[in-house]
């Protein structure tokens, strides 16, 4: 009887262990709190090292199965501590006190900016070292430089006029991408020139400035907002003439990750289609 009881107890314990192991992360894993870095880790073939992600990390599809460990750059400390990862990676927006708490628990924390192609290159090199995959990192660096050079060469050889663009991140207030921002760098590779040159980062700008600058095209990242419903926008020529381009997948363009070059290629192709259509429909090319 006692043997039977011990056997049942053992089986129950095994079941419990199996159930809990389903969500328990392997020690020594990586927690990524940035969608771009999650994509990079997977692109380097290290998805198996990921034990948790941020709620914003949604690509590749398979990472959605991972447990979440906070929002973008906002770690949930208790959950991460319980997972006992070896490394937490994110951009520099993480609260320094949270980072210190993780470090005190013996977890390595890497927080660096991730805003443009140079930042991306540095992250690729760092990830190669941290995840012990220098060969894959080197290949990604070569691919990055090759794609950038390719876009530049393509634009220079095409002899096309640069289109003046406004990048709308949010419509009210009019939040846009300024000089040195990621959309600015992305747009340049797609043959666009940002009308907001004097302001850096993501400034909120005046409508009067937009009316004065009269952009050739508006790249609309505010997907969930309707650009037609705001009456104040009707004075802008690009709006009136329908030269508003909604990127196919803004996550590919707004994340400095491995998919960004595909996003730029899509943007370029959509711009060519838009202005080819305008030409055939009789509208003058700006």
């Amino acid at each position: 009887m006692r043997r039977l009881f011990n056997l049942v107890l053992l089986l129950a314990l095994l079941c419990l262990t199996a159930c809990s192991d389903e969500h328990k992360s392997a020690p020594g894993g990586v927690v990524s709190l940035s969608p771009a870095l999650t994509e990079l880790i997977c692109h380097l073939g290290q998805e198996k090292r990921l034990v948790a992600r941020s709620t914003a990390c949604d690509w590749p599809e398979s990472v959605k199965k991972l447990p979440t460990a906070g929002d973008f750059a906002e770690p949930e400390l208790e959950r991460i501590l319980a997972m006992k990862p070896a490394l937490v990676v994110s951009n520099e927006f993480v609260n320094p006190k949270d980072a210190d708490a993780l470090r005190q628990a013996g977890i390595a924390v890497e927080l660096h900016p991730c805003d443009g192609f140079n930042d991306y290159r540095e992250w690729v090199i760092l990830m190669g070292k941290l995840l012990d995959c220098p060969h894959e990192a080197e290949n990604e660096l070569k691919r990055t430089d090759g794609r950038i050079a390719g876009f530049e060469a393509e634009f220079n050889s095409s002899q096309k006029k640069t289109l003046r663009a406004l990048y709308v991140i949010w419509d009210s207030p009019l939040l846009t991408a300024g000089a040195d921002s990621l959309p600015d760098a992305v747009g340049r590779l797609a043959g666009l020139e940002n009308i907001v040159k004097s302001e850096k980062g993501y400034p909120s700008i005046s409508l009067e400035f937009v009316l004065k600058e009269d952009p050739d095209v508006i790249v609309w990242f505010a997907h969930d907002k309707d650009w037609k419903s705001n009456p104040s926008w009707s004075g802008i020529r690009a709006i009136r003439e329908g030269r508003v381009l909604i990127p196919r997948d803004d996550s590919a363009l707004l994340r400095p990750g491995p998919r960004i070059f595909d996003g730029i290629a899509d943007l370029k192709s959509d711009l060519e289609t838009m202005f080819a259509d305008k030409e055939t429909s009789g509208d003058a090319q700006p």
């Binding site: 207030p173 400034p203 400035f209 009316l211 004065k212 705001n230 009456p231």
Partner: protein
Amino acid sequence: MKTARIILIYLAAALAAAVCGVLFGATRIPLSEFVQDGALNPIVELRIVRTAAAAVVGASLAVSGLIFQAVLRNSLAEPYLLGVSGGAGLGAAGAILLGFSAWGFMSVPLFALLGAVTANLLVFAAVRRRTAEELLLGGVMIGTLASSLLMVLITFSHSRDMAGVVWWMLGSVQNVDPARQLAPTAVLLCAATVFLLFRAGDVDLLTFGPEYAWNHGVNARLMTVILLALASLLAAVTVSMAGIIGFCGLVVPHIVRRLHGGSHRKILIPAALAGAVYLMLADILGRVVSPVRELPVGMVTAAVGCPVFLWLLNRSRAGS
């Protein structure tokens, strides 16, 4: 000075400010380019709408503040006292953060109006005796509750949405729909001004206290509720249109009262016009000082209003 002459002076100042509002902005437009190909230059069109919006919002806030200060007999009373700002902020933030802003341009203003009116109704429903003091305390409580809920929403929001909420809370007259927002608010302002001109005597009596007003034949409690509801409605409508613009409703009535005395029949229209001038000038300043980024008008009204008010306060104290 006679009332008519005072009104004429304020009217001239308002017209001058309106002309400046159309002439000056982020860019310099020669007069010859005001009309292009038979149509109004879009920049000029934008300036006309926002100048008109600044005038209506400023006038509404000043009238609302004037009534609040008179009825509550409190120098610190302002248009947002009965939970309007907290309720409107909660409504607007809810619309932005919960994704209702995707319904269209008018969704955020409508939610803000809904929030402000709901907060107001809650104050009137929650306070049983509805005396000025109790309504004031009820307003502070409901406003604080709404502000706390707003903070909770902001805490759970993403940075892009948060920028929208914060900008909205700083106030702006840039994105005003002339047909669906400006015209109805202007009609409400005119109707409220006419009503208040007819009832200016009652307002004067209420400034001496409800018992005094009662003894002079005014139903003090009913009139207090009507006046506060009207002033709150004016504030709620303006806040839904242009966000939370501080100082205008607090400073302008004080200044006008100090300059022209306490008769509401005499100072109602000057206060409205002074509010319009104040906000039009603040809007021009916000556009000219920082042409690309543009300063939020609520920030300019506070930055200008605070030192001006302190100077006036000290000057009058020194004089007395």
